[in-house]
């Protein structure tokens, strides 16, 4: 599928899906490793790598999905007891938690190792994570709160910077949201959250998880880490909290200074797990082995798809795309092995890692979850919301775009109600104009970044040094802060999202195509490269530098929807014309420019049904923009209906296409008028010979004399040209003939 899309960018797609057996699939082959004596897998979402401790070694693979390097990085550990491990964000230092009270650090490059014991023996270390927050580098979560450490300059020790004391029973952290959630209290239902982003540390107000009392006497069980999930969807940060007794899922959204409940979803299984793929929330109902999909921008109360199981897709052609690995597929033992893993879907050994990774601990397999957009498109009956959903896809933007256009194509071909088409057009145009706005905003940001980079990298004279540094620091602030700060300042509920999260969700497709400059702030770079890794695999075209977004431009609309339909001739001209009108109307509402080709097509369609009156009306009211293309089309149609010809002629003249106008009136034999026009508008493109030839051809001596006179008067040094000689001879000859 993706291979076909790379060959021709806009293959028309059939919305057939994979028989709609599932809407979500995991791609075979999975990432698997072979490490003897490995007990478990750790997925580090900060560095996007898979860590497998075995004996006194730590194997690690970057999870890029592009090339599964079979050779892992190996770090020799001093202590084979590993509770958890995380790489620093630059991948240089591995932090391993050996026990409740001790963390070891291993510098991969220098080989320096050091340990850091817990501050006191009363507080157990629950976990740790690295951060790109300017104040600190690594944070330990202990039962007594958060301990913020900074790396020493030589990277050989960590220094305590700050402590955020609080009672912690357990915690939850995702690197994507940079948010740590600390649970405390008897039932562990009081949550305290901090966000450690490049912009600084934000402490969010405490909030309590809502637990519905099903029955007065029954006491709700304490919440566990499995019940709470931090989800980042479309750059917004949400908290999902399971209420097992009520069989409900509570959704909260984090704002800078508030946590706002968003509603509840029913759950149908005792145990649920969550994934987020491309902004879509997947609620895995583990007991019933089905998955439900929710889109926060659509109605949260109704899933966007029917409950269907997760599917393993064995599409070999797909797997080969953009990857160099083929050893996995060729080996038969592998596929045999899969037989056992296949039955293992939603097995006990499955761990769901943020945001879309599944670890099969038992079989040593790592899966990545994908959305089957085609299946989703095939199963959805609500066209506008389907289109809105497709337009929000960022990961598989090219496919989403193709599907969107297929849907648009289909609704016109199937002659669905015009009101539906109108709604669909609105969705498409809204999405495109939003894309244009974001692009404009991001261009400005990038320009700022480049400007500062240029000034910083050049060989600056010494006295400029200070200003340069100032400039750089300013720009680094803007690159990090602008996306969230701009426009949001006046809002009381400030959106809690990271510059990275936002930019990756809204503009990522765009940025990926661009080269990431080394001088842009370090964190920024690492973030952006994060997104590159995934999407390069999914969208091969992006790797080739094509900017791909799901939004459909008016030009694409023309070539891949309207022209196609027009060529297929399956739908009558009037209906297509009405659809185009709907499109133009919504485009104009969104202040988009409608390309002249669409307008030409519209005129052509109307002319086919001889609706000349309407064409004239459209031209008069400027529904059809005056343009050269339109004027030419009018002249063409005008051959069978003269008033339209005049309309086209006048349009040419108004737009000052002098050459075209002159050639048209010369064709009509209006020679003298053409001369007058040429003089009035100082048209020099048409050579005198054109006029002279026509005059001579008319065998009208007077006319020829007129043109000669004109040329003598207005063409500099006309007497010296050969034309003068030729045509004065012709004139004399005609005189003789007459005499």
């Amino acid at each position: 599928m993706a291979s076909s899309s790379s060959s021709s960018q806009f293959v028309r797609r059939n919305i057939a899906g994979s028989g709609a057996l599932s809407h979500v699939y995991i791609q075979y082959p999975p990432f698997r490793f072979n490490v003897p004596d490995s007990s478990r897998m750790i997925y580090d979402d900060g560095s996007r790598s898979l860590l497998v401790p075995s004996g006194n070694k730590m194997f690690s693979w970057p999870v890029t999905w592009q090339s599964h390097s079979d050779t892992p990085n190996i770090i020799i550990l001093e202590n084979s007891h590993v509770l958890t491990a995380r790489f620093s964000l630059d991948g240089k230092i591995l932090a391993v938690q050996n026990s409740d009270y001790e963390v070891s650090f291993y510098n991969r490059e220098s080989g320096v190792k050091f340990k850091h014991p817990s501050r006191s023996h009363t507080e157990r270390i629950l976990g740790l994570f690295w951060t790109d927050c300017p104040a600190c580098d690594v944070i330990f979560v202990t039962t007594g709160g958060l301990e913020l450490f900074a790396l020493a300059p030589k990277l050989d020790a960590v220094k305590l910077v700050d402590v955020k004391p609080s009672q912690v029973s357990w915690y939850s952290y995702t690197h994507e949201s940079r948010l740590v959630l600390l649970a405390s209290g008897m039932q562990c239902k009081t949550f305290l959250c901090y966000q450690f982003s490049a912009g600084g540390i934000i402490r969010l107000p405490k909030f309590d998880a809502s637990m519905r009392k099903v029955d007065e006497t029954s006491k709700a069980a304490a919440l566990t880490p499995k019940d709470v999930h931090i989800a980042t969807m479309y750059g917004r940060v949400y908290c999902l909290q399971v209420d097992r007794l009520a069989m409900e899922l509570n959704v909260y959204r984090f704002y800078r200074d508030a946590v706002v409940p968003q509603g509840t979803l029913p759950i149908y299984s005792d145990t649920v797990a969550f994934s987020v793929v491309d902004g879509v929330l997947l609620v895995h109902q583990l007991a019933s082995k089905v998955v439900l999909l929710y889109d926060i921008f659509a109605d949260l109360n109704t899933p966007i798809s029917a409950p269907l199981p997760l599917l393993i897709r064995r599409d070999i052609a797909f797997t080969a795309v953009g990857t160099s690995e083929d050893s996995d597929i060729s080996s038969h033992t592998e596929s045999k092995k899969l037989g056992s893993t296949e039955s293992n879907i939603y097995g006990d050994s499955w761990n769901f890692a943020n945001p879309d990774i599944i670890l099969d601990q038992e079989n040593g397999i790592l899966w990545k979850i994908h959305l089957d957009l085609e299946a989703l498109a095939a199963s959805s009956s609500n066209v506008p919301s389907l289109l809105a959903f497709l337009q929000r896809r960022k990961l598989d933007a090219l496919l989403a775009k193709q599907l969107s256009m297929t849907v648009l194509h289909a609704i016109i071909i199937e002659r669905r109600p015009l009101s539906l088409i109108s709604e669909a057009m609105d969705v498409v145009n809204k999405s495109y104009s939003q894309f244009l706005r974001t692009r404009a905003a991001s261009t400005i940001t990038r320009q700022q970044a480049t400007r500062s980079q240029v000034s910083a990298s050049g060989n600056q004279p010494a006295h400029n040094r200070v200003t340069v540094e100032k400039d750089t620091s300013q720009s680094s602030i803007t690159t990090d802060v602008t996306p969230e700060a701009s426009g949001n300042v006046e809002k009381s509920l400030e959106d809690l999202s990271l510059s990275e999260a936002k930019s990756s969700s809204s503009v990522n497709a765009l940025e990926e195509g661009q080269e990431v400059d080394g001088t842009v702030e370090d964190t920024h770079k690492s973030m952006t490269s994060d997104t590159i890794e995934i999407s390069k695999n999914v969208l091969p075209s992006i790797a080739q530098g094509n900017v791909t977004v799901s939004a459909i431009s008016p030009e694409e609309m023309h070539f891949h929807v309207f022209v196609l339909i027009n060529d297929e001739m399956e739908v009558e001209a009037s209906f297509l014309a009405a659809s185009i009108i709907q499109y133009m109307q919504s485009a104009v509402t969104e202040k988009l420019k409608v390309p002249a080709e669409i307008q030409v097509l519209l005129i052509d369609l109307l002319a086919r049904e001889k609706r000349y009156g309407e064409i004239m009306h459209f031209v008069r009211t400027k529904v059809v923009d005056p343009s050269k293309e339109v004027a030419k089309q009018l002249l063409q149609i005008g051959k069978s209906y003269h008033p339209i010809f005049m309309l086209g002629l006048n349009m040419l003249r108004q737009l000052s296409f002098h050459g075209e106008y002159l050639s048209e009136i010369l064709q009509q034999g209006r020679l003298l008028e053409a001369l007058r026009y040429a003089r009035q508008n100082r048209v020099e493109a048409v050579p005198p010979s054109t006029f002279l030839e026509l005059a001579a051809a008319s065998h009208d001596r007077q006319k020829l004399a007129c043109v000669m006179r004109f040329c003598l008067d207005f063409v500099p040094s006309f007497e010296t040209t050969s034309e003068y000689q030729t045509y004065s001879a012709v004139l004399n000859q005609q005189k003789l003939v007459l005499a």
Binding site: S419, Q585, R611, M616, R620, V623
Partner: protein
Amino acid sequence: MSELDTSVQLCIFDTSRGQSDGQELDKILFFYPSESPFSAQLSLIGLGEGIITFTKMFSPNAPCDIIDTEKRSHVFFQPEPDIWMILVIEKRKESGELGRTRALQAILMEAHGLFTLFYGSIRALLLNSPSGDVARSCLQAFLPDYISDVMTVKRLSMLSSHSGLQERGTIQMMALDRSTALEVQSVVDLLQSWFGSGRIHHTLLLFQDLLVSTTLPPEDAAHLYTYARMRLIPAAISTSSGGHSLKKVLSRANSSSVHLKASASDITAAGQRPSPADSSNHHSQFFTPRPLQHDKWWRDNDGFLVTDAWGVDAQGMSAITPTVWLQQSSQERMKLVAYQHKQLTVVMLISVMHLAPNADGSHVLRNQVLEKASNKLNALEDRLSKEWGGINANHVPGYRYLYVDYDSRVSKASPAGKIATLTKDSLLSLDKVRSEIDIAKGRCDGSGEAQPYELETCVRTRSNAWVVVRIRGNHELYLVLERASETLLLTAEATEKFSRRHCDGIFASD
């Protein structure tokens, strides 16, 4: 002679009929006033026919326009081959000149255009009913109402004094912003699509008395627009609307139509005209509609306009939906359904051919419109009324103008209130210039030249006003500038400026 008022006479006759002696009366299809003695009728027609035959010898294509005598003017108009209309107007001393021949002919043209809109062409009626009774009863049902509307001497003279900057039979468009125009078009398309494809064939949208949009070809649009302006727009419909019960409808229908009943057999013949659906519509067989009857349209509570001018159905339960004939587009018979919201009037035409026999599609349409479109239409009315520039929207300070586009039958002119500020002298001069140009154009039409007619004239009047005329093919611009100080050069410049700003530069002289 009795006290018969003969200040206005109108006759319609067919020169191909009544060829043999003693059959002359058969030529006459219509005569107004109808009480005129046959001798008077025959003598008028005899004179007309004689003149036509005589002038044909010199100009076979355009025989005769007018006979101007000391007391009367005879205006000739040939709407269809062999069919002639003669309008006789008595001159009155106080009113002076009667104005341009073309302006008077335009009245006849309009009358004929409206007639064909409702009944089809006179020739078709004659072909279907060779005795001519159907044609006569139709003309009789239609023209007296029309005459009472426009053709009294008083009104005619009043019309003619201002007619220099007006063009009868053209459409006045509402000036629309591009996005509004697109929205209008989008709503029209939606409206047509909601009633199933192809059922609503055409729509005509008016805001007050201005046309907003239409899908009709220019000529049909102009006719329907004229009718809508006369009878359908909010200012024209019966104000005593409210609760017109069906009983009232019934009683009205009975009382007003008795004298119009023609013999049943004749009308059945009319029913066999091209449309097969016609015969299914039994009621029309007993009733010749009077579309121009006054106070016959009113607005129902649901916003639809109803009329009993086309009679009521057999049970007397509901009024019959009016039908019209489209001449230019399809030669088809269409049912006319009109919806009104505040200042917005939507005229929808449904093809009779597409309706099941005996089915009146208007009820289905009504429900559909109310259900789906009324919101959109109401929103559109809002938007239009915000965009409407008031009655002086078309006013251009310093200019009194008329711009006519005969291709699309659209005209744009200074508001009547502003035209009235012109001196009588200016108007008379304009009228004279226009008459001259009419004649020149008439000659040009006859010459059959392929090139578009072009003309530029600038006339200084006695009172130092300027009358400017520019013609480019089927586009004509008339300007009156009452600024005495201006030179010819300045006037030409002012004209160029006007042309650029208000006429898309069509009239540029180069």
